[in-house]
């Protein structure tokens, strides 16, 4: 059906004419026939308006709009020979009313839905400010159940984008101030349940594994993908203990005891975990693989095209980020978009600058901070209680994530907090021997008394 335009000379206030037309179009539901009205640019007391009319043949308005055309404000149409309404083309009315004519739209329209977008969150964004509830908090059991559900869901989904992970955490009600999706994802990586892509944009569930806790032969922790049949098989094969994480901050550690590891593994394979590897102490094996910290830095993602002068730079000074003009020094930087009207609420990038290789590195926030502290000449002082198998690390020197994973896998549990320090359980002498040189630790043997 063609669209053509009828022109009318009107007198009066354009707003009054418009309201009369609008009322009639709406009352008679004429949006299909008269989708738009164009007003002359900067109309005066006498002005022209054009109705877009959808009908065939051109120049013959449909019967439905006869009532509209009978309005007194449209009583002076521009007529063709023979007295009929003269049809104009779009190009003609552009000359007629001007390209900048005011337009009134009567067609039925779809309004854009204003759904609240997911908060933009950098998977490598700042990890500080993380909240871990006290162990006796009333909702530890409830939160643990929700984290267990999250792990079941991750196992069923298999893989996805960071956005899907964010959405799942929010839907399950796990997100609150101090517990952001990126922090939850980090905890799950530490526990050996998921892995993420180098750019942090994608995640996938880790393969199902039974890992022997450090220093034990027959206590196993279940890591990675799981479902109800697998959990049932594990319950049938060994004595099971669900140990909540400190503050209910993650899925419960599922510990199997009392049966030889190989026997438990066979039972799980029979239940469908075909590729389950032989149980081993993943903590010690991982620690043995980890390179010196400098080599780890070389493995981080390099971000191309960063021009620091385009951003407002803030540099980590060991405690906080401070505004500094960029002078090419090594360190951890927040790069903020220059102030706009509303002002950005988060840095555009958080990156480590390595002037020796003229590169900007992206990665685990704690790991970048560790590099920055080392670049500033600091040393990570840890305390180890050999008798209790506990290791205490200053909160401000939290390790790069892969190194910390070796500590967490040793017990299957996230660290507890003891003042300004993080305390890890089941840390063997072998683990300390493997990790201390890589991270250039200063280890002192002490007695650590706390409950994690």
């Amino acid at each position: 059906m063609p669209r053509w335009y009828g022109a009318f000379r009107c007198v009066g206030k354009p707003q009054v004419v418009l309201s009369q037309i609008a009322a009639k179009v709406r009352y008679d539901d004429l949006g299909r026939f008269v989708p738009r009205v164009y007003f002359e640019k900067r109309p005066r007391r006498e002005f022209y308006l054009c109705l877009a009319i959808v009908s065939e043949p051109e120049g013959v308005p449909p019967r439905e709009v006869e009532g509209l055309l009978a309005l007194s404000c449209l009583s002076s149409p521009v007529r063709a020979d023979g007295g009929r309404l003269r049809p104009f083309s779009r190009a003609e009315i552009d000359r007629f009313v001007g390209a900048g004519a005011d337009v009134q739209d009567y067609a039925r329209r779809i309004q854009r839905r204003r759904t609240a977008p997911l908060p933009v969150e950098d998977p490598f964004g700042p990890a500080y400010g993380e909240v871990v509830d006290p162990d006796d908090a009333a909702d530890v059991v409830g939160r643990t159940a929700l984290f267990d559900r999250l792990l079941l869901w991750l196992s069923a989904a298999g893989a996805g984008s960071f956005a899907t992970f964010q959405q799942a955490c929010r839907t399950l009600g796990l997100v609150k101030p101090g517990v952001e999706p990126r922090q939850i994802l980090r905890r799950l990586r530490l526990l050996g349940h998921v892995e993420t892509s180098p750019d942090g944009g994608r995640w996938s569930i880790a393969p199902t594994a039974l890992t022997r806790l450090a220093g034990t032969e027959e206590t196993l922790a279940l890591c990675g993908a799981r479902d109800e049949p697998l959990r049932s098989a594990l319950r049938a094969a060994a004595a099971i203990e669900d140990v909540t994480q400190p503050g209910g901050g993650g899925p419960a550690a599922l510990l199997a005891r009392g049966r030889p590891a190989a026997q438990v593994a066979r039972a799980l394979r029979a239940a469908g975990a075909d590729d389950l590897p032989e149980p081993e102490c993943a903590a010690e094996r991982l620690a043995a693989l980890l390179p010196p910290i400098d080599a780890w830095a070389d493995s981080l993602q390099q971000v191309p095209g960063i021009v620091p002068t385009l951003y407002d730079c803030r540099r980590f000074d060991g405690v906080d980020f401070r505004d500094v003009p960029f002078a090419g020094r090594a360190g951890l930087y927040e790069l903020w978009q220059p102030e706009r009207d509303a002002g950005p609420t988060a840095p555009r990038y958080t990156l480590y600058h390595d002037p020796a290789h003229d590169r900007w590195l992206r990665g685990d926030w704690y790991g970048l901070r560790y590099l920055a502290r080392m670049a500033a000449g600091g040393v990570c002082e840890v305390e180890w209680d050999q008798g209790e198998g506990r290791l205490s690390v200053p909160d401000g020197w939290r390790w790069p994530e892969l190194y910390e994973r070796a500590l967490v896998l040793a017990s299957g549990r996230l660290p507890g907090r003891h003042g300004e320090r993080l305390v890890y359980d089941a840390i063997s002498a072998r683990l300390i021997d493997l990790l201390a040189p890589s991270l250039r630790l200063h280890v002192s043997e002490v007695s650590i008394r706390c409950t994690t």
Binding site: R112, S155, T211
Partner: protein
């Protein structure tokens, strides 16, 4: 000679294989299809003396449902097999075959009498009207169709078999399943041949070309091309399939060696690191479609000089491969399939624009790809040649489409992305742009759609987890619709309301199960399925791509460590 069960299985594979979830399923059975399927099934001894696959098919049906040579008994084909597949499909196909024969030859006399004359012919029953054993459509035909519809919905497909009006109620079901008649196919093939069309088009482009020949088409074909709603896509796919088959083998349908094309189409899958923003350009990965109408394993495609295994990503699609270059996108590309021999090519069609929509199974994922037509009211990304911008500006000036921000140059600047693009108006009549294909792609073809958002999805099963079902939003040009949520298992309404459009609704989902959400206004209706699975039925799945951390010569994935040369950890 193939048994009823073998025909049933072959038909099931033909009907649903490779169809993405959420799509409508049409049986579309005619003599060409039976002839094609028959080639892969054991034949009767008479086949060497002139018996056809159709004869074999009819004989298999008769052996199973005809008693005493004069009575139909459907007791052997009701219910489901041990694999939970419907037994009735081959018989439903018989009914569609009868409807297709009737529609072919008696365009103006579609009646129960004529339909049953055809059905009796297939079943070798004498007489007229409903056969004995099928006297009551409500008790015999309808439950079979309803059972088939239920089975489809449980698997995430939209049913398309609908009853007819008044006296045509029961023949409406098989008639609703016919797409292209023989006369339509013959006319289309003549058109392809006369116009010397050989190009690697996709369905939209091909249908656009056919539509331009409107004056030379039959009234029925013109009506088919003007179809709106879910049938439109099925008709377009059927025309494309015919085009591909004809390009491979120009013999008439019944003589063709294949029932499905050896050419696969590819779309594009957009990968974009939103966090790095303007520092990186989106990459557009080759996104091959899985073969329709038949199962296929171990396909390997050659991209560049490298053999790439095609791994299933979801029904209808393989895992995206390497990014395509600007020149591949510009001129289209053919990628050879190394194996198996029954497949020849994956075709990336030459297009001036691509509509990239959010993942229909996981809109929150941030992924965009050529998964289909943008649902009404859902923003999409329009990737197009820069030269199309003036025409798009014209549509925007008319208030028909809108987008957010400025066009973003990509792919060496010859292309642009319009982000958050949306068709906003229903008044597209009378506006003309040079690129009719672009116009048709952007013009809303429905006035109503249903979106399900939020909740906790189980991506691989197109479902949600119980207790975390989705919010439902009806998008449409009308202000209000009648909304009904029914349980598929018993067709009982569990929620009914008059609902405002564009306003999300928190549905009180009663528990795990399959639900059909239907919105109706002014005689038009649209439906979609929502499946809620209980927590204890969440099975661990193997991720299509496993993320690993490489350390030296080892790969770490969670708590597992393997040597890099062992592959996945």
């Amino acid at each position: 000679m193939a048994t009823y069960d073998q025909w049933n299985e072959a038909l099931l594979s033909y009907v649903v294989e490779g169809i993405p979830r959420g799509m409508p399923i049409y049986l579309g059975i005619d003599e060409d299809v039976i002839a094609g399927l028959g080639r892969a099934l054991p034949r009767a001894e008479t086949s060497s003396t002139g018996g056809t696959a159709l004869d074999d098919f009819c004989a298999a049906i008769r052996r199973t449902v005809i008693r005493d040579g004069e009575r139909v008994s459907l007791s052997a084909i009701t219910g489901r097999t041990t694999a939970d597949e419907p037994r009735c499909l081959a018989f439903l196909a018989t009914m569609v075959l009868a409807a297709s024969q009737m529609a072919d030859e008696e365009d103006k006399d579609i009646s129960e009498l004529n339909y049953f004359r055809r059905l009796r012919g297939i079943l070798a029953l004498k007489g007229e009207g409903r056969p004995r054993g099928m006297q009551f459509g409500k008790a015999v035909d309808e439950p079979l169709w309803q059972g088939w519809n239920r089975w489809l919905q449980e698997r995430g497909y939209l049913p398309s078999a609908l009853p007819g009006e008044g006296p045509r109620r029961y023949i409406g079901y098989p008639l609703s399943q016919t797409l292209l008649r023989h006369a339509d196919k013959d006319r289309l093939v003549r058109l392809f041949r006369d116009k010397h069309w050989r190009a690697d088009w996709d369905a939209d482009t091909l249908v656009g070309q056919v539509r331009r020949e409107g004056g030379t088409l039959s009234a029925h074909l013109r009506a088919l091309l003007a179809e709106e709603g879910q049938r439109r896509g099925a008709v377009a796919e059927a025309i494309l399939e015919l085009y591909d088959l004809w390009r491979q083998d120009p013999r008439p349908g019944r003589e063709r060696a294949a029932v499905a094309s050896s050419h696969l189409r590819a779309g594009i899958f957009r990968e974009y690191d939103a966090l790095l923003g303007a520092l990186v350009e989106p990459a557009y990965h080759l996104y091959p479609q899985a073969p329709r109408r038949r199962a296929a394993d171990n396909l390997e495609l050659i991209q560049g000089d490298v053999r790439r295994p095609l791994r299933a990503e979801r029904p209808g699609w393989f895992v995206p491969l390497d990014p395509v270059s600007a020149s591949e996108l510009e001129r289209g590309e053919r990628y050879r399939i190394a194996q198996p021999a029954e497949f020849e090519l994956v075709i990336l069609p030459q297009r001036r624009f691509w509509l990239l929509i959010q993942d229909p199974e996981n809109p929150e994922s941030g992924a965009y790809a050529s998964w289909g037509t943008p649902p009404l009211g859902q923003p999409f990304i329009l990737l197009c040649k820069s030269a199309l911008l003036p025409q798009l500006e014209q549509l925007r000036a008319e208030g028909l489409i809108g987008w957010q921000g400025e066009p973003v140059p990509v792919l060496d600047g010859g292309w642009v992305e319009l982000r958050d693009c949306m068709s906003e108006s229903e008044a597209w009549s009378g506006v003309f742009i040079e690129d009719q294909e672009l116009f048709e792609a952007l013009r809303p073809v429905v006035s109503l759609s249903i979106s399900a958002a939020g909740g906790l999805r189980v991506p691989d099963r197109a479902a949600w987890v119980n207790e975390y079902g989705p919010e439902i939003t009806v998008v449409g040009f009308d202000a209000e619709v009648e909304l009904t949520v029914s349980r598929v298992a018993d067709d009982r309404a569990v929620y009914e309301a008059v609902q405002r459009t564009q306003v999300p609704l928190v549905v009180p989902w009663p528990g795990a199960g399959d639900y059909r959400v239907e919105a109706t206004v002014g005689g038009r209706s649209v439906s979609r399925l929502v499946k809620l699975v209980p927590w204890d039925e969440l099975w661990a799945t193997e991720p299509p791509r496993r993320e690993v951390v490489a350390i030296g010569g080892a790969q770490v994935a969670g708590a597992t460590i393997s040597r890099a040369d062992e592959g996945d950890a």
